[in-house]
Amino acid sequence: MRNVLNTGAAPVELDEFQYDNKIVRDFAIASVVFGLIGMLVGLLAAFQLAFPQLNFDLPFTTFGRIRPLHTNAVIFAFVGNGFFAAMYYSAPRVLKAPMWSPLLSKFHFWGWQLIILGAAITLPMGITTSKEYAELEWPFDIAIAVVWVAALVNLVMTMLNRRVEHIYAAVWFYVASFVAVAMLHVVNSVALPVSFFKSYSWYAGVQDALVQWWYGHNAVAFFLTTPYLGMMYYFLPKAANRPIYSYRLSIVHFWALIFLYIWAGPHHLLYNALPDWAQTLGTVFSIMLLAPSWGGMINGLFTLRGAWDKVREDIVLKFMVVAITAYGMATFEGPMLSLKNVNAISHFTDWTVAHVHVGALGWNGFLLFGILYWLLPRIYGRSLYSNKLANFHFWIGTLGILFYAVPMYWAGWIQSAMWKEFTQEGLLKYPNFLETVTQLAPLYFLRGVGGTLYIIGFIVMIYNLLMTALNGKLIATETAKAPALSAITHNDPQEHWHRRIFERRPVFLTIMALVAVAIGGLIELVPTFMVDSNVPTIASVQPYTPLELQGRDIYVREGCYVCHSQMVRPFRDEIERYGEYSKAGEFVYDRPFQWGSKRTGPDLHRIGGKYPDSWHYNHMDDPASMSPGSIMPKYPWLLEDELDTTTTAAKIRAMQTLGVPYDEGFDQVANKDLQKQAEKITESLKQSGIKTKSDKEIIALIAYLQRLGTDIKAGQGVAVK
């Protein structure tokens, strides 16, 4: 049933239809406005590390809550809305059909902006799941799924109603992005709600970590990479007015890229308590990823062969060339960082931060800037307001990336080297972790300068685009003409409806894309869940007490994981510094896991019993009082606020549902147990001369911190089957 060209002599009739530019404009505005906010929040976070006073001693402005706000805003609001603007412009033009449902387009727009608004309110309030780039709580997760699927349906229906036979590869990348993110988001967000704004992850410990980084890595792949590759495949040829270097390469690298990417997640957990085979898979596939990634970069850069003179003149191409180059560098660096020996140096340091910002500022930012400079004049029917300002943006932005990345690479290497350095006597050269942090203060400041330069360029762009828009008039719709698909192809009128829906190529393509991305996930996730030997149980590891559980939720709320890992890797220096390395069986009651991905402060997995209760009390009130020079924010409200014990019973019941072996009916007496343990800690504080009440939040947090990593000592770490 191959479609063949209709070679009949009669001239075909042309359909007339309209492209909607308004939705494009709306998404572009949302991207730029939220982008500015997200970057300013990032700038605040950057300077907080150099000047801790900027945490303002307020719950809403501490680094632990600000950093998730920054990452969510720039990924989902800036990059996300930018992708949607580009997609709503390019997909209808490629398919020669307006978006199938303007209503769904509107629903997508307003739904997405409301979710972003919700994130901007709830994240500073400490309402978080603590899973990186998936911090939003369960009501938002459901809303995201609904809006996301609505957008996917709209796109696939537009493909079914297209007026060209072949679907241009850019749209393949869009579809794969939607399908993969839907799968990742749904699987990673499965949680048991305790209340409207609190839930516990369905997965525990090692499994939770694997699912999270399977998601986390592929949020990079399918939110920051494949959509932007699709955009590159449309807007780069348009801007250069020449076809892509190799269309065949774009197809081959599409399938290779989406198939390989999904496996790479475990490279975020190298030397962690993840089964070795999963770590190795992550590394191997990350190395293989170099091929399709560079396939995309080469395809982009070679499109400009023989046209480099244009790049000298055209501001749009300038931005795109830097973007594609940044993509090439980041996707070379990624596989290198996935090698275990390189990762042993880079992991938990600012090297990772440098790496992602080359991708985010260079690839996503610059590609989107190039597209906006191309797009806005077109839908406003005039030329760009000022080429000079755009050039200024280009140079200050490029400088900004350099000033951001170089100090962070430097910081990563310095800190890692300091962590690992031993004296000739065999002792740690820098036993005080803080020494390795204060060393970085000038670099943190320089990084902030880089960010400032980048944001100045961004603001100049906003002014330039605004003036372009004000001096033009929005061309709300454009009319196009094309023959209907049925007029140029031959279809069997007898075919059944299910054939039309399920066997036509757009749906087949969508399903095949899902299959390609699902394979890697299944192979990594299913055995880790099904095979018991992957997480050896340790008899002495017991569930948290009610007070510790409440304390843990405070730890999650304050975003402690943003700066502190709970994962001692099996390295000589880490065992010397922190204690016994972390075992998979120690995390079976951790929902969500708190392994972290960055050590701005020291690892906390073996913190239990290391300091007296009074140390923690004073340290949370003012970290510098216990560790002079500390850059950790103050948490005075923990000493004042009363612990909400009304949730205890519901939390215990939720944990029981998830399989935690609390005794039957324990939820009813949990608060009594909590009270008893709280009194004990209050008493110990009193003996150190600290007067406080047992109902304060700080008591619960101290209980949790003192429990951390201590269970294994009771059983000498013997694994039992």
Binding site: R2, Q18, Y19, R93, V94, V164, H166, Y168, A169, A170, Y234, P237, K238, N241, R242, P243, I244, Y247, R248, S250, I251, F259, P275, W277, L281, G381, K473, L474, I475, A476, T477, E478, T479, A480, K481, A482, M512, I519, I523, P527
Partner: protein
């Protein structure tokens, strides 16, 4: 170690699947013309909507 055997078996299976998919895609003609689509997107043939365009 047993994971290794499962993985080797699975890799061969996946590779076979991709080989079949590739042969299929060539046979149904997906690679017959891998140039025209890249050129076609360069032409838009649109006109601004008369209602929206400013009337000079």
């Amino acid at each position: 170690m047993s994971a290794l055997f499962i993985l080797i078996g699975f890799s061969l299976l996946a590779a076979l699947g991709f080989l079949i998919a590739f042969v299929w895609s060539v046979r149904v003609g997906q690679y017959d013309d891998d140039y025209t689509p890249s050129v076609r997107i360069l032409f838009d043939d649109t006109t601004p909507d008369s209602k929206a365009a400013p009337k000079a």
